[in-house]
Symmetry: C2
Subunit: 124 residues, 2 copies
């Protein structure tokens, strides 16, 4: 199903974590078990289509475990796998790195100066 025909593990992880949702979902899931609708409430701007797709992707990657309960109105729970939990600090480290970087790096469009990343074609 997943044809992540690997060249490099880094490319594979990035394929999974790329986009705005994966890390966000992991973030919320690290708080504990969540249902589909919980996650939608956690981030109201994700569509149900995206949520399903992203959740599926994380499941395939072994980051998230899906548990379906019999009965109606049909209940499904999501939680991080052990591997998923091990991933959390690595993601946090990236966040920390970015905080440090944008703090110490005198680059346009990072700290307090401005936010508009305008490609004014050249400023040399």
């Amino acid at each position: 199903m997943k044809s992540l025909v690997s060249r490099c593990p880094i490319e594979e992880v990035m394929q999974i974590l790329s986009g705005r949702w994966p890390t966000l979902l992991i973030y919320y899931l690290k708080q504990g078990t969540k249902r589909f609708s919980d996650l939608r409430r956690d981030n109201p701007t994700i569509s149900h289509k995206m949520l399903t797709l992203e959740l599926r992707k994380l499941e395939d990657a072994g980051i998230v475990e899906r548990t379906e309960f019999e009965g109606y109105p049909l209940r499904v729970e999501y939680q991080l796998t052990p591997a998923g939990h091990r991933l959390v600090p690595l993601i946090d480290a990236l966040g920390d790195w970015w905080e440090t970087t944008s703090d110490t790096s005198p680059h346009p469009g990072s700290t307090d100066a401005e936010a508009a990343v305008s490609n004014t074609a050249s400023r040399d």
Copy 2:
């Protein structure tokens, strides 16, 4: 254009690192200074437009430094900033995590044989 004004640093990093090129480019740049055409040779499937865009993004993020030399056929060199160098091990850690994960986590529902994504992972 793209407002990086985000709530969470993790969202911001992922915005920079998402996609297949950023980590690849960082990977090649950690080998040392590279010119535009070097990077195109390193990954032949990137279009020159994408390469400029991604390079610009990494530059804005303070990960890559661009040096333009005066001269005949115009020469530009790219290299990692100190912050960029500090980022490398974090990315590597993700790669390592993935290797371990895909090795030890035979998640249910997926193909048993396919779970083993054999990657010889020879970098560094």
